[in-house]
Symmetry: C2
Subunit: 495 residues, 2 copies
């Protein structure tokens, strides 16, 4: 190939490649994403009908048989619950496609309920005024060509063409499972250009966006990320590391070959208290409302985004149980029906202040209860323990959120685990004018307990006293706030 042609190709690629520039300013599409801020993630497919989370591509397509499929109900509910968009899992690692793909028979069209789920969701999104994003697994455990990477990339691009040309505007595209091949094998610049050539405003990303390529086990958590950490998959438009949470002072700038790129973080959480993404037969408890509220505030702060997985069940509808918890959250946030702006949470007055504990482990010192990460924790060495935060300038507060760190218990079925919380009795004290004042006693904390006080309290110090626990107590985060002082949801171009 003549040199000039190569240059022209390179220029062409350059023009179509990252809308994102290394200038550190969000593109209009990135800004729209942050403004959307809050989306509903939908996992629905073969796994829903087989009591599993992941499957290996051998489950029979005809095991997919919703008895009352109603995609309109999903999106109508999403609108009611204040979500701004939907991200639909079109194909999970098992390779089963929720639309009628010309390139495989492992899809809904091969089942007794051949409804094009992607099409129905797209139609409902238009009807209710929500944006639509799609999740597509790079890893495919069914597709025979998967072992032959060039052939599979061709398959993938053809399927992406279907997804990106048949359903109107798609706002985001999520790749997952990239770890199953070497990073470079995915030939991401080419796939990225293909995607952008079909949808110029789409935002694309790959799960585990940041980290050292080819060394999956060395991938750090968002709590460790620093400005200039390497982008693992390039090019991408935003960043995910499911199901982790960004740190509060998330650095936002990541490196590709010496250039820094601005990337917002899209957080993913599962509504289920048991961390299941695909709905199971038994109706399980949803996360506590207090926890969802705190995760909403954290997840949507600082120009980041939160998507919550609300999976339909075997009938093909979202259950009342899940609807109720999300509507409770919408009511608490004041965003029912998506009419109001997403609210900011109250500003945490306790971040990174002097703190001391009655005991702490070397790996989990007291300071981690008020650091910039939800993913670090303080753990005591005894079941009776206390934690004391000092405010260099006395504060006035009326809200305390306590997030307890769970110990995970595997239920042995290959995908379920439950969260075990140790704290059984606690007390909160404030110190002012030379005196300690006990202002609250409670029993279990669990994933999160938010105490909204009916009075303002002045404090030079605050102490959490654990009076009873079934094991060493562990706290991942404490927020102390005055509800009149809001934190900042958007700080665009201010990093």
């Amino acid at each position: 190939m003549p040199k000039l042609t190569l240059i022209l190709i390179a220029l062409f690629i350059g023009l179509n490649s990252p809308a994102q520039t290394p200038k550190g300013v969000m593109t209009p599409s990135q800004l729209s994403q942050v403004e959307r801020g809050y989306g509903m993630f939908i996992h629905f497919g073969l796994n829903t009908f087989n009591e599993t989370e992941w499957s290996n591509g051998t489950l029979p397509a005809n095991s997919y048989k919703p008895t009352n499929l109603d995609c309109d109900q999903w999106v109508k509910f999403a609108k009611d619950a204040g979500f701004r968009y939907v991200i639909l899992v079109t194909k999970h690692h098992d390779g089963f496609c929720l639309w009628n793909s010309k390139y495989t028979d492992y899809d809904v069209a091969a089942t007794s309920v051949p409804t094009d789920v992607v099409g129905e969701v797209a139609k409902a999104c238009k009807k209710y005024g929500l944006k639509l994003g799609l999740y597509y697994s790079l890893w495919d455990r069914h597709e025979p060509s998967y072992k032959n990477t060039p052939a599979y990339l061709d398959y993938m691009k053809k399927q992406l063409t279907e997804l990106l040309t048949q359903y109107g505007e798609i706002c985001e595209l999520w790749f997952d499972g990239g770890w199953n091949k070497k990073d470079a094998e995915w030939n991401l610049p080419d796939v990225y250009n293909h995607v952008k050539s079909l949808q110029k405003n789409i935002l694309l990303t790959v799960n585990h966006s940041i980290g050292k390529p080819e060394n999956h086990s060395a991938i750090r958590q968002p709590k460790d990320y620093a400005k200039g950490d390497p982008i693992r998959y390039y090019p991408i438009d935003f960043r995910i590391k499911d199901p982790n949470f960004a740190r509060w002072d998330d650095p936002k700038y990541y490196d590709w070959k010496g250039q820094l790129y601005y990337l917002s973080f899209e957080h993913t959480i599962c509504l289920s208290d048991r961390w299941n993404w695909f709905q199971k037969k038994q109706v399980l408890a949803a996360r506590p409302l207090d926890e969802l509220e705190e995760l909403f505030y954290w997840g949507t702060a600082n120009d980041n985004i939160l998507i919550v997985n609300v999976p339909p069940d075997l009938t093909g509808r979202i259950r009342t149980n899940e609807q109720i918890r999300m509507l409770e959250l919408a009511d608490r946030l004041g965003i029912r029906s998506g009419v109001s702006k997403l609210p900011s949470g109250p500003k945490n007055l306790a971040f990174n202040l002097p703190i001391k504990a009655s005991s702490e482990t070397e790996k989990e010192p007291a300071q981690q209860a008020i650091d910039f990460s939800l993913e670090t924790a303080w753990t005591a060495t005894d079941t009776l323990a206390n934690l004391e935060i000092s405010f260099p300038n006395p504060i006035v507060f009326n809200r305390v959120s306590l997030l307890e760190n769970a110990f995970m218990k595997d239920l042995g079925d290959g995908f379920s685990s439950i969260r075990i919380f140790n704290i059984q009795e606690f007390e909160l004290q404030s110190y002012a004018n030379g005196q300690w004042n006990s202002f609250y006693t409670g029993e279990n904390i669990g994933a999160c307990k938010t105490i909204q006080l009916p009075i303002n309290i002045k404090a030079e110090k605050i102490k959490l006293v654990i009076r009873k626990a079934s094991g060493p107590p562990s706290i991942s985060h404490i927020a102390v706030a005055d509800i009149a002082t809001k934190g900042i949801r958007k700080v665009k171009n201010n990093w």
Copy 2:
């Protein structure tokens, strides 16, 4: 004494005796009491300083030593928390008096903090516009004359004269501990007349108002009361049986010598989750807010009254911990600062409907979960259990309250016990149009869990499924309601 004089005395007593007539209509004072509806009970005294609930009259008076006594704070708080009046324990069974009584040295005047607590509370009640009621123990374990009944009655009447002449208007007078002498020994008609001669609008009662005299152990609970049950202490103006709760269809008419008298029931509850009336050194958890809300609705419904004990601590002030829970309740009820009327609770649509359980004990059948008593319960025989209520006419509901029946665990210190709740995981289902729909899953219920739904649900049946419990589950009450339909707080003269 000439016969005529006796007749004149009898006539005079008759004129001054029960303002209450057997006509079955509330007197103006009784009506005022029901309109007040919600009072704060204050236990404070020697026991506060001695880590005990009851003492035998030998504790030294000088062990009473509040470091920062502030009765104004008590009443200011009562006003803020929406209470309409205060009932102060002026003398408990130990005989220690909270005012400077001429007739004993076992009083505050003999201590290092001689403040007249009754006087300070009376002054603060005037300042904040609250009514004042007094509790006075008939039983006196200190006063030497107690063994000589006529001498003691004289002592008592002199003390009552002090209490009813020195502190302005007193709205209620509570006698307790009557069981320690034979009922007739108290010569209640005489004491009643004495009291009424000093305060004509006062209402007087004796604890354990209803029951067979001289047979204390045979006294039934309010759940068993029927119209025409004998009045144990006559005359009285209202009815108490601390700490029991009246049944919903409380009969209200009780018998004295063949005449029926109308008596409202004043419920007493302790704010503490551990059932302590006098504050202890350790700050203990208050009852859950959901429980307080339900007990408020029940306790103030049907022309009855609720008083909540909020005890000051060793410093002589009401702690922030207790204040916060009561202010939370006031905010939930919308009665902060006593500005608004007391609200009615939502009407329970499940009272006495057909119900069936997976298992039940002979003494505690399923029906008791929806009967007219909070004091009866359904108890299953297995840890996995369910309860199903049928609605002859389909209902629309958006609120469910579940009150779990506690098993009491004695802490062995002579006065403390904790409530143990068995239920660890539950599910709620509704049935309509031929299908069961799971609408809520949760973990612990505890004393009370109120589920305020963000949607309306139609139901022909409702099922509570207990999925995990540490012992046989027991439910004392289930209320299913539509918050738009209120129950009735006042039904005066309508019984």
